[in-house]
């Protein structure tokens, strides 16, 4: 339960959510992660520490680099979010089905 609280608290910050979204695309170093944000590397490192303690990411040692990647619960959460992007797109097209149905019935009416 404590873990879950830590995960939710870690996820409450938009920068940390953005970092997780980035990591969903693969492993990154702190330097690479800092690029899209107007933030220093130490500030990004602090966010990473929160994510690591929440069990959302893991870091490994690679010479002087410490690349990060998603931990399994993080991956599962991200999968869910990617599903939501898919869902938003799919919802558009479900709405389009209805629009097309109305267009078709109007056309039928014109024919009569």
């Amino acid at each position: 339960m404590e873990r879950l609280d830590a995960a939710f608290s870690a996820l409450s910050d938009p920068t940390r959510r953005a970092i997780l979204a980035r990591l969903a695309m693969g492993e990154e170093t702190v330097m690479e992660l800092a690029k899209p944000f107007e933030m220093t590397q130490p500030a990004v490192s602090r966010h990473l520490k929160v994510l690591e303690e929440a069990g959302l990411i893991v870091r490994r040692v690679d010479g002087t680099r410490r690349p990060c990647r998603l931990a399994k619960p993080g991956i599962e959460a991200i999968d869910e979010w990617l599903g939501m992007l898919r869902e938003a797109l799919a919802k558009n097209y479900d709405r389009l089905d209805l629009v097309l149905e109305v267009m078709n019935s109007e056309k039928e009416k014109e024919k009569r």
Partner: protein, 154 residues
């Protein structure tokens, strides 16, 4: 079946396909006429498109603005490169968040498929990094939507 597919191809492409039970003419109209676009191109629940401009001619411009009625707001602008009525739309677009994202080059084809239409949308981003950014931005929006949904449940 009307199931949508969303896949990546190579380093720079994203491909979306969807079948519709309507003629290519109708699906094409729904992609080019503002009063039709405004009815479906809305994304997550609760968002509307108060501004929808589409000049629907080669070289024409378009601008779509979305709002969630609670201060959430973003827009995309773009240019229409090529229009082949009822068959194909080629356009370039960028999102403004409010800074403009790199150009996304999109080719949308409408092919007769049985008595309906198979739509194939092929996006080409400038490089792998941009595609990565775009997919993660999309995911962030998905996340915001999920948080909003959580809010409405509590």
């Amino acid at each position: 079946m009307s199931k949508m597919t969303l896949t990546t191809e190579g380093d720079r492409h994203v491909i979306v396909t969807r079948h519709f039970n309507a003629s290519p003419e109708a699906v094409y109209r729904a992609h080019t006429e503002p009063e039709l676009i405004q009815k479906w191109l809305l994304g997550p629940e609760g968002w509307t498109m108060p501004v929808c401009i589409n000049e629907a001619r080669p070289g024409g411009r378009f601008r779509y603005e979305w709002s969630n009625g609670k201060g959430g707001h973003f827009y995309i602008t773009g240019e229409l490169v090529e229009l082949e009525p009822n068959r194909k739309i080629v356009h370039i677009e960028r999102m403004h968040l409010p800074d403009a994202t790199p150009d996304n080059h999109v080719e949308t084809r409408f092919d007769a498929d049985g008595s309906g239409t198979l739509m194939t949308m092929r996006m080409t981003l400038p490089d792998a990094e941009t595609r990565k950014q775009m997919l993660s931005t999309g995911m962030e929006h998905g996340m915001e939507a999920s948080y909003a949904r959580l809010d409405s449940m509590s």
